[in-house]
Subunit: 229 residues, 2 copies
Amino acid sequence: MTGQKYTIAVIGGTGALGFGLALRWAKAGHGIIIGSRAQDSADRGAERLIALAPEATVTGLENGAAAAAAEIVVLTVPFSNQSPMLEAIKPGCQGKIMVDVTVPLQPPKVRTVHLPEHGSAGKGAQTFLGDGVRVVSAFQNVAADHLTDLEHAIDCDILVCGNDPDAREIVVGLAEDASMRAWHAGRIENSVVSEALTSALIFMNKRYKIAGAGIRITGAPGSAENGDH
Amino acid sequence: MTGQKYTIAVIGGTGALGFGLALRWAKAGHGIIIGSRAQDSADRGAERLIALAPEATVTGLENGAAAAAAEIVVLTVPFSNQSPMLEAIKPGCQGKIMVDVTVPLQPPKVRTVHLPEHGSAGKGAQTFLGDGVRVVSAFQNVAADHLTDLEHAIDCDILVCGNDPDAREIVVGLAEDASMRAWHAGRIENSVVSEALTSALIFMNKRYKIAGAGIRITGAPGSAENGDH
Protein backbone atom coordinates (compact mmCIF):
# COMPACT_ATOMS: atom_id res chain seq x y z
CA MET A 1 0.00 0.00 0.00
CA THR A 2 1.43 3.35 -0.99
CA GLY A 3 1.38 6.20 1.47
CA GLN A 4 -0.50 8.77 -0.54
CA LYS A 5 -4.29 8.77 -0.57
CA TYR A 6 -6.27 10.19 -3.47
CA THR A 7 -9.82 11.15 -4.20
CA ILE A 8 -10.72 8.83 -7.05
CA ALA A 9 -13.78 9.21 -9.27
CA VAL A 10 -14.87 5.90 -10.76
CA ILE A 11 -16.90 6.73 -13.86
CA GLY A 12 -19.25 3.80 -14.40
CA GLY A 13 -18.68 2.94 -10.76
CA THR A 14 -22.05 1.22 -10.44
CA GLY A 15 -20.93 -1.48 -12.92
CA ALA A 16 -19.26 -4.67 -11.74
CA LEU A 17 -15.69 -3.79 -12.72
CA GLY A 18 -15.84 -0.18 -11.56
CA PHE A 19 -17.53 -1.09 -8.30
CA GLY A 20 -14.94 -3.79 -7.62
CA LEU A 21 -12.07 -1.35 -8.11
CA ALA A 22 -13.85 1.28 -6.00
CA LEU A 23 -14.37 -1.24 -3.21
CA ARG A 24 -10.70 -2.21 -3.10
CA TRP A 25 -9.52 1.40 -3.20
CA ALA A 26 -12.02 2.41 -0.51
CA LYS A 27 -10.69 -0.39 1.69
CA ALA A 28 -7.16 0.92 1.04
CA GLY A 29 -8.07 4.35 2.37
CA HIS A 30 -8.67 6.33 -0.81
CA GLY A 31 -11.64 8.65 -1.07
CA ILE A 32 -14.14 7.42 -3.65
CA ILE A 33 -16.63 9.24 -5.82
CA ILE A 34 -19.01 6.88 -7.57
CA GLY A 35 -19.84 8.43 -10.92
CA SER A 36 -23.01 7.56 -12.77
CA ARG A 37 -25.26 9.08 -15.41
CA ALA A 38 -27.82 10.22 -12.88
CA GLN A 39 -27.41 11.50 -9.36
CA ASP A 40 -29.82 8.98 -7.85
CA SER A 41 -28.03 5.94 -9.30
CA ALA A 42 -24.70 7.43 -8.17
CA ASP A 43 -26.19 7.82 -4.69
CA ARG A 44 -27.34 4.21 -4.65
CA GLY A 45 -23.90 3.05 -5.76
CA ALA A 46 -22.28 5.11 -3.03
CA GLU A 47 -24.65 3.65 -0.41
CA ARG A 48 -23.86 0.15 -1.58
CA LEU A 49 -20.14 0.87 -1.27
CA ILE A 50 -20.48 2.45 2.19
CA ALA A 51 -22.28 -0.67 3.37
CA LEU A 52 -19.22 -2.74 2.41
CA ALA A 53 -16.60 -0.16 3.46
CA PRO A 54 -18.17 1.85 6.29
CA GLU A 55 -14.88 3.45 7.26
CA ALA A 56 -14.34 4.96 3.79
CA THR A 57 -15.10 8.43 2.45
CA VAL A 58 -17.60 7.81 -0.34
CA THR A 59 -19.89 10.07 -2.29
CA GLY A 60 -21.95 9.74 -5.45
CA LEU A 61 -22.06 12.28 -8.27
CA GLU A 62 -23.14 12.57 -11.89
CA ASN A 63 -20.19 11.63 -14.13
CA GLY A 64 -19.07 15.11 -15.19
CA ALA A 65 -19.24 16.43 -11.64
CA ALA A 66 -17.51 13.32 -10.33
CA ALA A 67 -14.55 13.89 -12.67
CA ALA A 68 -14.36 17.56 -11.71
CA ALA A 69 -14.34 16.78 -7.99
CA ALA A 70 -11.68 14.06 -8.12
CA GLU A 71 -7.89 14.01 -8.19
CA ILE A 72 -7.78 10.87 -10.34
CA VAL A 73 -10.51 9.81 -12.76
CA VAL A 74 -11.06 6.15 -13.68
CA LEU A 75 -13.19 5.26 -16.69
CA THR A 76 -14.87 1.85 -16.46
CA VAL A 77 -17.65 1.79 -19.02
CA PRO A 78 -18.47 -0.46 -21.97
CA PHE A 79 -16.70 0.49 -25.20
CA SER A 80 -19.95 1.67 -26.76
CA ASN A 81 -20.17 4.31 -24.02
CA GLN A 82 -16.55 5.41 -24.05
CA SER A 83 -16.99 8.33 -26.47
CA PRO A 84 -19.96 10.01 -24.77
CA MET A 85 -18.37 9.47 -21.36
CA LEU A 86 -15.11 11.05 -22.51
CA GLU A 87 -17.08 14.06 -23.69
CA ALA A 88 -18.82 14.30 -20.34
CA ILE A 89 -15.65 14.13 -18.27
CA LYS A 90 -13.23 16.01 -20.52
CA PRO A 91 -13.55 19.37 -18.75
CA GLY A 92 -13.23 17.81 -15.31
CA CYS A 93 -10.18 15.74 -16.27
CA GLN A 94 -7.90 18.60 -17.27
CA GLY A 95 -4.58 18.52 -15.45
CA LYS A 96 -5.36 15.12 -13.97
CA ILE A 97 -4.62 11.46 -14.49
CA MET A 98 -7.38 9.60 -16.36
CA VAL A 99 -7.16 5.84 -16.00
CA ASP A 100 -8.81 4.19 -18.99
CA VAL A 101 -10.10 0.66 -18.40
CA THR A 102 -12.07 0.47 -21.65
CA VAL A 103 -11.99 -2.81 -23.54
CA PRO A 104 -13.03 -2.38 -27.18
CA LEU A 105 -15.20 -5.49 -27.39
CA GLN A 106 -17.72 -5.60 -30.21
CA PRO A 107 -20.60 -7.88 -29.19
CA PRO A 108 -21.55 -10.49 -30.10
CA LYS A 109 -18.07 -11.47 -31.38
CA VAL A 110 -16.25 -10.66 -28.18
CA ARG A 111 -13.75 -13.52 -28.56
CA THR A 112 -12.16 -11.96 -31.64
CA VAL A 113 -10.14 -8.75 -31.49
CA HIS A 114 -11.63 -5.73 -33.22
CA LEU A 115 -9.17 -2.86 -33.20
CA PRO A 116 -10.83 0.52 -32.67
CA GLU A 117 -9.95 3.80 -34.33
CA HIS A 118 -6.46 4.92 -33.21
CA GLY A 119 -5.54 1.25 -32.65
CA SER A 120 -6.55 1.17 -29.01
CA ALA A 121 -9.19 2.65 -26.77
CA GLY A 122 -6.46 4.10 -24.55
CA LYS A 123 -4.77 5.88 -27.44
CA GLY A 124 -8.17 7.10 -28.58
CA ALA A 125 -8.83 8.54 -25.13
CA GLN A 126 -5.45 10.28 -25.02
CA THR A 127 -6.05 11.71 -28.50
CA PHE A 128 -9.51 12.98 -27.57
CA LEU A 129 -8.62 14.39 -24.15
CA GLY A 130 -5.44 16.08 -25.36
CA ASP A 131 -2.08 16.71 -23.74
CA GLY A 132 -3.61 18.36 -20.69
CA VAL A 133 -4.74 14.96 -19.43
CA ARG A 134 -2.34 12.14 -18.60
CA VAL A 135 -4.12 9.00 -19.81
CA VAL A 136 -2.98 5.73 -18.26
CA SER A 137 -4.38 2.39 -19.42
CA ALA A 138 -4.80 -0.49 -16.95
CA PHE A 139 -7.05 -3.14 -15.39
CA GLN A 140 -8.60 -4.53 -18.59
CA ASN A 141 -7.81 -8.16 -17.84
CA VAL A 142 -9.16 -8.59 -14.33
CA ALA A 143 -12.36 -10.56 -13.92
CA ALA A 144 -14.89 -8.25 -12.25
CA ASP A 145 -16.23 -10.92 -9.94
CA HIS A 146 -12.72 -11.56 -8.64
CA LEU A 147 -12.43 -7.90 -7.63
CA THR A 148 -15.54 -7.80 -5.48
CA ASP A 149 -14.56 -10.99 -3.67
CA LEU A 150 -11.98 -9.53 -1.31
CA GLU A 151 -10.92 -12.99 -0.19
CA HIS A 152 -10.07 -13.89 -3.78
CA ALA A 153 -6.39 -13.28 -4.61
CA ILE A 154 -6.17 -11.65 -8.04
CA ASP A 155 -4.14 -14.10 -10.13
CA CYS A 156 -3.53 -11.60 -12.92
CA ASP A 157 -0.81 -9.02 -13.47
CA ILE A 158 -1.74 -5.51 -14.55
CA LEU A 159 -0.03 -3.89 -17.54
CA VAL A 160 0.13 -0.12 -17.03
CA CYS A 161 0.61 1.95 -20.20
CA GLY A 162 0.82 5.68 -20.65
CA ASN A 163 3.11 8.39 -21.94
CA ASP A 164 3.95 9.88 -18.54
CA PRO A 165 6.12 7.66 -16.31
CA ASP A 166 5.08 9.50 -13.11
CA ALA A 167 1.40 9.00 -13.87
CA ARG A 168 2.07 5.32 -14.61
CA GLU A 169 3.88 4.98 -11.31
CA ILE A 170 0.85 6.32 -9.42
CA VAL A 171 -1.40 3.81 -11.19
CA VAL A 172 1.04 0.99 -10.42
CA GLY A 173 0.61 2.06 -6.79
CA LEU A 174 -3.18 2.02 -7.11
CA ALA A 175 -2.99 -1.54 -8.47
CA GLU A 176 -0.86 -2.55 -5.50
CA ASP A 177 -3.35 -0.88 -3.15
CA ALA A 178 -5.95 -3.18 -4.71
CA SER A 179 -3.70 -6.21 -4.06
CA MET A 180 -2.58 -6.63 -7.65
CA ARG A 181 0.90 -6.87 -9.13
CA ALA A 182 1.43 -4.22 -11.83
CA TRP A 183 4.09 -3.41 -14.42
CA HIS A 184 5.08 -0.35 -16.39
CA ALA A 185 4.41 -1.58 -19.94
CA GLY A 186 5.23 1.38 -22.17
CA ARG A 187 3.53 4.23 -23.96
CA ILE A 188 -0.23 4.54 -24.40
CA GLU A 189 -0.04 2.82 -27.82
CA ASN A 190 0.87 -0.36 -25.92
CA SER A 191 -2.58 -0.41 -24.32
CA VAL A 192 -3.61 -2.47 -27.34
CA VAL A 193 -1.87 -5.40 -25.66
CA SER A 194 -4.17 -5.68 -22.65
CA GLU A 195 -7.23 -4.50 -24.55
CA ALA A 196 -6.82 -7.16 -27.24
CA LEU A 197 -5.73 -9.74 -24.69
CA THR A 198 -9.18 -9.55 -23.13
CA SER A 199 -10.72 -11.10 -26.27
CA ALA A 200 -8.12 -13.87 -26.24
CA LEU A 201 -8.78 -14.54 -22.54
CA ILE A 202 -12.53 -14.70 -23.16
CA PHE A 203 -11.78 -17.17 -25.95
CA MET A 204 -9.68 -19.27 -23.58
CA ASN A 205 -12.30 -19.10 -20.82
CA LYS A 206 -14.73 -20.68 -23.25
CA ARG A 207 -12.32 -23.13 -24.92
CA TYR A 208 -10.79 -24.43 -21.69
CA LYS A 209 -13.68 -23.77 -19.29
CA ILE A 210 -11.60 -21.43 -17.15
CA ALA A 211 -13.33 -19.27 -14.56
CA GLY A 212 -11.50 -16.06 -15.45
CA ALA A 213 -8.15 -16.58 -17.18
CA GLY A 214 -5.49 -13.94 -16.64
CA ILE A 215 -1.77 -13.43 -17.24
CA ARG A 216 1.41 -13.32 -15.24
CA ILE A 217 4.62 -11.74 -16.46
CA THR A 218 7.58 -14.11 -16.13
CA GLY A 219 11.25 -13.31 -15.82
CA ALA A 220 13.15 -12.05 -12.82
CA PRO A 221 13.62 -8.28 -12.54
CA GLY A 222 17.33 -7.50 -12.29
CA SER A 223 18.33 -10.76 -13.99
CA ALA A 224 19.77 -8.99 -17.03
CA GLU A 225 23.21 -7.42 -16.72
CA ASN A 226 21.76 -4.45 -18.46
CA GLY A 227 18.20 -4.17 -19.61
CA ASP A 228 19.06 -3.17 -23.14
CA HIS A 229 18.17 -6.26 -25.12
CA MET B 1 5.46 -34.99 -27.53
CA THR B 2 2.79 -35.74 -30.10
CA GLY B 3 2.99 -38.89 -32.15
CA GLN B 4 2.94 -37.45 -35.63
CA LYS B 5 6.16 -36.24 -37.24
CA TYR B 6 6.19 -33.58 -39.92
CA THR B 7 8.60 -32.17 -42.42
CA ILE B 8 8.89 -28.55 -41.34
CA ALA B 9 10.45 -25.78 -43.41
CA VAL B 10 11.77 -22.97 -41.27
CA ILE B 11 11.95 -19.88 -43.48
CA GLY B 12 14.63 -17.67 -41.98
CA GLY B 13 15.95 -20.75 -40.26
CA THR B 14 19.48 -19.38 -40.10
CA GLY B 15 18.31 -16.60 -37.75
CA ALA B 16 18.38 -17.02 -33.98
CA LEU B 17 14.64 -17.57 -33.45
CA GLY B 18 14.14 -19.82 -36.48
CA PHE B 19 17.24 -21.85 -35.70
CA GLY B 20 16.17 -22.31 -32.09
CA LEU B 21 12.75 -23.62 -33.13
CA ALA B 22 14.34 -25.86 -35.78
CA LEU B 23 16.73 -27.28 -33.19
CA ARG B 24 13.95 -28.16 -30.76
CA TRP B 25 11.79 -29.72 -33.48
CA ALA B 26 14.74 -31.68 -34.88
CA LYS B 27 15.40 -33.04 -31.39
CA ALA B 28 11.71 -34.02 -31.19
CA GLY B 29 11.97 -36.13 -34.34
CA HIS B 30 10.54 -33.83 -36.98
CA GLY B 31 12.24 -33.49 -40.33
CA ILE B 32 13.67 -29.99 -40.82
CA ILE B 33 14.33 -27.97 -43.92
CA ILE B 34 16.35 -24.85 -43.21
CA GLY B 35 15.16 -22.18 -45.63
CA SER B 36 17.35 -19.27 -46.57
CA ARG B 37 17.69 -16.77 -49.39
CA ALA B 38 20.59 -18.60 -50.95
CA GLN B 39 21.33 -22.29 -51.21
CA ASP B 40 24.79 -22.00 -49.69
CA SER B 41 23.60 -20.21 -46.56
CA ALA B 42 20.78 -22.76 -46.22
CA ASP B 43 23.39 -25.52 -46.49
CA ARG B 44 25.51 -23.91 -43.77
CA GLY B 45 22.47 -23.59 -41.51
CA ALA B 46 21.60 -27.24 -42.09
CA GLU B 47 25.16 -28.30 -41.27
CA ARG B 48 25.08 -26.27 -38.07
CA LEU B 49 21.82 -27.95 -37.08
CA ILE B 50 23.08 -31.46 -37.91
CA ALA B 51 26.07 -30.84 -35.68
CA LEU B 52 23.70 -30.20 -32.75
CA ALA B 53 21.13 -32.87 -33.71
CA PRO B 54 23.04 -35.58 -35.57
CA GLU B 55 20.12 -38.03 -35.40
CA ALA B 56 17.75 -35.65 -37.21
CA THR B 57 16.74 -35.44 -40.86
CA VAL B 58 17.89 -31.99 -41.94
CA THR B 59 18.33 -30.36 -45.32
CA GLY B 60 18.85 -26.83 -46.54
CA LEU B 61 16.97 -25.19 -49.41
CA GLU B 62 16.29 -21.77 -50.85
CA ASN B 63 13.11 -20.36 -49.25
CA GLY B 64 10.65 -21.00 -52.06
CA ALA B 65 11.86 -24.55 -52.58
CA ALA B 66 11.90 -25.14 -48.82
CA ALA B 67 8.22 -24.21 -48.56
CA ALA B 68 7.33 -26.39 -51.52
CA ALA B 69 9.13 -29.42 -50.07
CA ALA B 70 7.63 -29.16 -46.56
CA GLU B 71 4.38 -30.25 -44.94
CA ILE B 72 4.37 -27.28 -42.57
CA VAL B 73 6.00 -23.91 -43.28
CA VAL B 74 7.21 -21.65 -40.47
CA LEU B 75 8.05 -18.01 -41.20
CA THR B 76 10.63 -16.50 -38.85
CA VAL B 77 11.94 -13.35 -40.50
CA PRO B 78 12.08 -9.70 -39.45
CA PHE B 79 8.92 -7.73 -40.20
CA SER B 80 10.68 -5.76 -42.94
CA ASN B 81 11.20 -9.05 -44.81
CA GLN B 82 7.75 -10.53 -44.25
CA SER B 83 6.21 -9.28 -47.51
CA PRO B 84 8.94 -10.45 -49.91
CA MET B 85 9.19 -13.77 -48.05
CA LEU B 86 5.43 -14.32 -48.31
CA GLU B 87 5.68 -13.72 -52.05
CA ALA B 88 8.52 -16.23 -52.30
CA ILE B 89 6.73 -18.98 -50.39
CA LYS B 90 3.13 -18.39 -51.50
CA PRO B 91 3.11 -21.06 -54.24
CA GLY B 92 4.77 -23.66 -52.02
CA CYS B 93 2.40 -23.00 -49.09
CA GLN B 94 -0.85 -23.83 -50.85
CA GLY B 95 -2.88 -26.45 -49.02
CA LYS B 96 -0.54 -26.31 -46.02
CA ILE B 97 -0.26 -24.79 -42.59
CA MET B 98 1.87 -21.63 -42.51
CA VAL B 99 3.01 -20.70 -39.03
CA ASP B 100 3.67 -16.96 -38.88
CA VAL B 101 6.12 -15.84 -36.19
CA THR B 102 6.48 -12.30 -37.51
CA VAL B 103 6.63 -9.48 -34.96
CA PRO B 104 5.85 -6.11 -36.53
CA LEU B 105 8.56 -4.17 -34.73
CA GLN B 106 9.57 -0.86 -36.27
CA PRO B 107 13.16 -0.07 -35.25
CA PRO B 108 14.39 1.95 -33.55
CA LYS B 109 11.18 2.37 -31.48
CA VAL B 110 10.73 -1.32 -30.77
CA ARG B 111 9.33 -0.74 -27.27
CA THR B 112 6.19 0.93 -28.62
CA VAL B 113 3.54 -0.96 -30.56
CA HIS B 114 3.14 -0.03 -34.21
CA LEU B 115 0.17 -1.80 -35.71
CA PRO B 116 0.76 -2.96 -39.28
CA GLU B 117 -1.70 -2.91 -42.14
CA HIS B 118 -4.55 -5.35 -41.42
CA GLY B 119 -3.96 -4.86 -37.68
CA SER B 120 -1.55 -7.75 -37.30
CA ALA B 121 1.19 -9.43 -39.27
CA GLY B 122 -0.65 -12.73 -38.93
CA LYS B 123 -3.86 -11.34 -40.39
CA GLY B 124 -1.81 -9.70 -43.13
CA ALA B 125 -0.24 -13.06 -43.98
CA GLN B 126 -3.62 -14.81 -44.07
CA THR B 127 -5.02 -12.06 -46.31
CA PHE B 128 -2.07 -12.26 -48.70
CA LEU B 129 -1.83 -16.06 -48.87
CA GLY B 130 -5.57 -16.57 -49.26
CA ASP B 131 -7.95 -19.24 -48.07
CA GLY B 132 -5.86 -22.05 -49.54
CA VAL B 133 -3.32 -21.62 -46.75
CA ARG B 134 -4.15 -22.10 -43.08
CA VAL B 135 -2.17 -19.38 -41.31
CA VAL B 136 -1.48 -19.94 -37.62
CA SER B 137 0.27 -17.32 -35.51
CA ALA B 138 2.55 -18.34 -32.63
CA PHE B 139 5.95 -18.10 -30.92
CA GLN B 140 6.35 -14.30 -31.01
CA ASN B 141 7.12 -13.94 -27.31
CA VAL B 142 9.89 -16.47 -26.79
CA ALA B 143 13.39 -15.16 -26.33
CA ALA B 144 15.54 -16.67 -29.09
CA ASP B 145 18.49 -17.35 -26.82
CA HIS B 146 16.23 -19.35 -24.51
CA LEU B 147 15.28 -21.63 -27.40
CA THR B 148 18.79 -22.61 -28.37
CA ASP B 149 19.73 -23.38 -24.78
CA LEU B 150 18.06 -26.77 -24.48
CA GLU B 151 18.69 -26.87 -20.72
CA HIS B 152 16.74 -23.64 -20.32
CA ALA B 153 13.07 -24.25 -19.47
CA ILE B 154 10.93 -21.87 -21.52
CA ASP B 155 9.09 -19.79 -18.94
CA CYS B 156 6.61 -18.39 -21.47
CA ASP B 157 3.27 -19.66 -22.70
CA ILE B 158 2.52 -19.66 -26.42
CA LEU B 159 -0.70 -18.11 -27.74
CA VAL B 160 -1.80 -19.94 -30.89
CA CYS B 161 -4.18 -18.02 -33.16
CA GLY B 162 -5.70 -19.00 -36.46
CA ASN B 163 -9.03 -19.52 -38.16
CA ASP B 164 -8.79 -23.31 -38.41
CA PRO B 165 -9.00 -25.18 -35.10
CA ASP B 166 -7.34 -28.33 -36.49
CA ALA B 167 -4.37 -26.34 -37.76
CA ARG B 168 -4.12 -24.59 -34.38
CA GLU B 169 -4.15 -27.95 -32.64
CA ILE B 170 -1.20 -29.15 -34.72
CA VAL B 171 0.75 -26.01 -33.82
CA VAL B 172 -0.14 -26.46 -30.15
CA GLY B 173 1.43 -29.91 -30.53
CA LEU B 174 4.54 -28.43 -32.15
CA ALA B 175 4.91 -26.05 -29.21
CA GLU B 176 4.65 -28.96 -26.81
CA ASP B 177 7.24 -30.86 -28.85
CA ALA B 178 9.53 -27.88 -28.24
CA SER B 179 8.82 -28.08 -24.47
CA MET B 180 6.48 -25.10 -24.37
CA ARG B 181 2.97 -24.78 -23.00
CA ALA B 182 0.56 -23.50 -25.65
CA TRP B 183 -3.04 -22.31 -25.78
CA HIS B 184 -5.66 -21.96 -28.47
CA ALA B 185 -6.23 -18.19 -28.40
CA GLY B 186 -8.78 -17.52 -31.12
CA ARG B 187 -8.95 -16.39 -34.71
CA ILE B 188 -6.04 -14.94 -36.66
CA GLU B 189 -7.10 -11.38 -35.77
CA ASN B 190 -6.09 -12.23 -32.19
CA SER B 191 -2.46 -12.56 -33.27
CA VAL B 192 -2.21 -8.84 -32.51
CA VAL B 193 -2.09 -9.84 -28.84
CA SER B 194 1.21 -11.68 -28.96
CA GLU B 195 2.66 -9.47 -31.67
CA ALA B 196 2.00 -6.30 -29.69
CA LEU B 197 2.94 -7.97 -26.43
CA THR B 198 6.49 -8.34 -27.74
CA SER B 199 6.96 -4.57 -27.66
CA ALA B 200 5.61 -4.41 -24.11
CA LEU B 201 7.93 -7.25 -23.04
CA ILE B 202 10.93 -5.48 -24.62
CA PHE B 203 9.88 -2.37 -22.68
CA MET B 204 9.72 -4.39 -19.46
CA ASN B 205 13.07 -6.08 -20.15
CA LYS B 206 14.62 -2.62 -20.27
CA ARG B 207 12.62 -1.03 -17.45
CA TYR B 208 13.07 -3.90 -14.98
CA LYS B 209 16.35 -5.35 -16.30
CA ILE B 210 14.76 -8.71 -17.05
CA ALA B 211 16.65 -11.22 -19.17
CA GLY B 212 13.73 -12.14 -21.40
CA ALA B 213 10.31 -11.46 -19.89
CA GLY B 214 7.43 -13.69 -20.98
CA ILE B 215 3.86 -14.48 -19.98
CA ARG B 216 1.97 -17.28 -18.34
CA ILE B 217 -1.78 -17.74 -18.62
CA THR B 218 -3.43 -18.11 -15.22
CA GLY B 219 -6.68 -19.80 -14.32
CA ALA B 220 -7.42 -23.49 -14.01
CA PRO B 221 -8.88 -25.21 -17.10
CA GLY B 222 -12.16 -26.86 -16.17
CA SER B 223 -12.71 -24.52 -13.23
CA ALA B 224 -15.77 -22.90 -14.82
CA GLU B 225 -19.07 -24.79 -14.72
CA ASN B 226 -19.49 -23.78 -18.28
CA GLY B 227 -17.01 -21.72 -20.25
CA ASP B 228 -19.59 -19.26 -21.49
CA HIS B 229 -18.80 -16.14 -19.52
